[in-house]
């Protein structure tokens, strides 16, 4: 189980604003996703989570750093070109907002079978229609939806269609960029269960980006916490929730509401004041597999 499928090393990305200003969206981020694992990436909005996803999918070209996907350096143009076909099939991205990631002028049938048509794959179940039907069934949708347009579906259905589209290529790595945050809570639960189910059935690895900690706790194996473009803590999910070390993580965890009103009343919100001192230094291992960003002076 320890085979590494995605290895991100020292990823740094700056966005230029005008001629002189630039924003450090990612600063020296390193992590690895193992085979068959769900790796969660959490953080407040603007912390650079989506930028990681976009760099991994080659949508953005990072300023520096390396990304290895199944041993292929995807940021090396030569190597990327050589393995483009394979990468495009084995990595799939699920967007946050399914309303805009599905073309409103295509039917569900066309959307789901599009990747296969692009890659000229012979559908395993005979025809494109049969394959699309199967994938819809797999994500829990009825085949009567095949001829509907995305605008006619509800948010949860749309997100399932997006997942079905990603699954048609039998990906080994699924990058889910906040796939549930635009959904209602009840629908969120269904989608999360779908993801958990996917891992069991397909044995695919998932890079799961979210800002909802309770979801991450339920779904993920390991979690990385991001703040201001930096990875501040990286640990297996149980360890992170049991003994958070970085002040930002502590603050983040203390913001989770507790479903018990008596405990909820006693909950203390910790504050994190973005002290630059706490956001510098490098990741150090504090216990087994538990890394924390720690300043140099301590």
């Amino acid at each position: 189980m320890s085979e590494i499928i995605l290895d991100v090393r020292n990823l740094t990305h700056h966005f230029g604003i005008g001629k002189k200003l630039s924003v450090k969206a990612l600063d020296n981020v390193s992590f690895a996703v193992k085979k068959g694992e769900i790796f969660g990436l959490v953080g407040e909005s603007g912390s650079g989570k989506s930028t990681v996803a976009r760099c991994v999918m080659n949508i953005l070209k990072p300023t520096s750093g390396e990304i290895f996907c199944e041993g292929i350096n995807v940021l090396n143009p030569k190597e990327f070109k050589k393995n483009k076909k394979q990468l495009e099939a084995s990595r799939q991205l699920i967007f946050q907002d399914s309303a805009s990631s599905l073309n409103g002028r295509m039917t569900v049938r066309e959307i789901v079978s599009e990747p296969m048509k692009i890659h000229k794959v012979k559908p395993p179940r005979g025809t494109f229609d049969a394959e699309a039907e199967f994938q819809l069934f797999y994500v829990g949708l009825d085949k009567s939806l095949l001829d509907k347009y995305p605008t006619e579906l509800s948010g949860g259905m749309r997100q399932r269609v997006a997942i079905a589209r990603a699954l048609t290529m039998e990906p080994r790595l699924l990058v889910a960029d906040e796939p549930i945050s635009s959904l209602d809570v009840s629908v969120q639960a269904q989608i999360i269960n779908l993801f958990a189910h996917l891992r069991c059935e397909h044995n695919c690895s998932i890079l799961f980006i979210a800002h909802d900690l309770s979801v991450v706790r339920y779904l993920c194996d390991r979690v990385g916490v991001m703040c201001k473009g930096k990875l501040v803590e990286l640990a297996p999910v149980e360890k992170l929730f049991a003994s958070p070390r970085h002040p930002y993580t502590k603050a983040l965890l203390s913001s989770i509401p507790i479903p018990d009103p008596r405990l909820e009343r006693e909950r203390v919100m910790e504050k994190f004041d973005y002290d630059p001192k706490l956001l510098s230094g490098k990741l150090r291992e504090v216990s087994e597999e538990h890394f924390v960003l720690w300043g140099d002076e301590e």
Partner: protein, 337 residues
């Protein structure tokens, strides 16, 4: 945004102008070399046929026809800068001289037509916007749509048929009656019909533009404020709305110079009005390339100049445009994030 130094700004515009002119001349030169026909013929006319082989060679050498195209272009450009554009095959004189004789007529027709269109369109547009959706507006819109659909040449023909042939009121061709070259009144009389065609043909397009821009403006919030303050409808339109649409109208008019110019070319042909438009169609018909090239160059230069003027109006005179450029730059930064 820091405002640029005016010298730098106008310097840049001048550079763009010269660069475009250069590209234009390149294009015109190479296209004319692609054209069928012997360039020698276009330079020396019928004499070529009587030339011996040696004479031919000498002539080709002199014109540099046996050299590569870029060298030829260099030579041609050098001559052109000195004002030598070759000889017009049909008129047997310098191309620049032929054009010099005619350009005044075109400028009079095009210039007066342009000014009339400009003023009338503004007035008509305001009138339509003022009486929005009333019968006057509706009537003008209908009539305007119909007139804008009539091709220039047909309108000219019909006007000639009515006013010149049947009613015998106005002259239907030429710029002056024979022997009356210096009679101002006679010239004006000859201008009436061509001018009418120019104006009728272009008027509605611009009037409609003014009308729509004004109607957009009238829906702005500040109009409501003006109304609340107790300003009259007329005052709001003339003092506030009009001021806001003027810069874009001006730049539109600057861009539209070539369209009106292109229109006069056809009108000149129909009315056999001795301007460069008639010259252009004639020289194309007789394969008089030197003349055609020069006409293309002149028209192109005017067009480029007008576009740059429109840009300057947009960027310098309208304060809102400056603002919006500022915002645009901000947006780029946003998108980058």
């Amino acid at each position: 945004m820091i405002r640029e130094n005016p010298f730098v700004y106008y310097g840049k515009k001048l550079f763009v102008f010269l660069l475009s002119l250069f590209i234009l001349s390149l294009a015109v030169f190479f296209i004319s070399r692609l054209a069928p026909g012997d360039p020698l013929v276009s330079y020396y006319g019928d004499r070529v046929e009587k030339m011996s082989v040696e004479e031919r060679e000498w002539a080709e050498n002199k014109l540099g026809l046996n050299e590569s195209l870029p060298v030829q272009y260099g030579r041609w450009a050098k001559n052109a800068l000195c004002g030598d554009f070759g000889i017009s095959y049909k008129y047997k004189m310098e191309a620049s001289e032929v054009i010099g004789e005619r350009i005044g007529n075109t400028l009079v027709l095009g210039g007066i037509g342009f000014l009339l269109t400009f003023v009338l369109a503004l007035g008509l547009g305001i009138l339509c916007a003022y009486y929005e959706d009333k019968w006057l507006d509706k009537l003008l819109c209908r009539v305007g749509t119909i007139t804008s659909c009539i091709p220039e040449f047909w309108l000219s023909l019909v006007l000639i048929l009515i006013f010149s042939v049947n009613l015998n009121l106005l002259p239907g061709s030429g710029a002056y009656s024979i022997g009356n070259k210096d009679d101002f009144g006679d010239r004006m009389l000859h201008l009436v019909l061509p001018l009418a065609v120019v104006v009728i043909n272009h008027l509605w397009y611009y009037a409609y533009m003014v009308r729509n821009k004004l109607l957009e403006e009238v829906r702005a919030e500040y109009v409501l404020l003006g109304k609340a303050k107790g300003l009259s409808k007329r005052k709001i339109i003339f003092r506030h709305c009009l001021r806001n649409i003027m810069p874009s109208y001006l730049s539109l008019m600057a861009i539209s110079v070539p369209h009106i110019m292109g229109g006069t070319y056809i009108i000149e042909t129909v009315f056999s009005y001795p301007g460069i438009g008639k010259l252009a169609t004639e020289s194309a018909r007789y394969k008089d390339y030197n003349l055609l090239m020069l006409i293309c160059l002149i028209s192109g230069a005017v067009v480029i100049l007008c576009n740059i003027i429109a840009q300057i109006i947009n960027e310098r005179i309208d304060p809102r445009m400056r603002e919006s450029r500022h915002i645009e730059e901000g947006e780029v930064a946003e998108n980058g994030k």
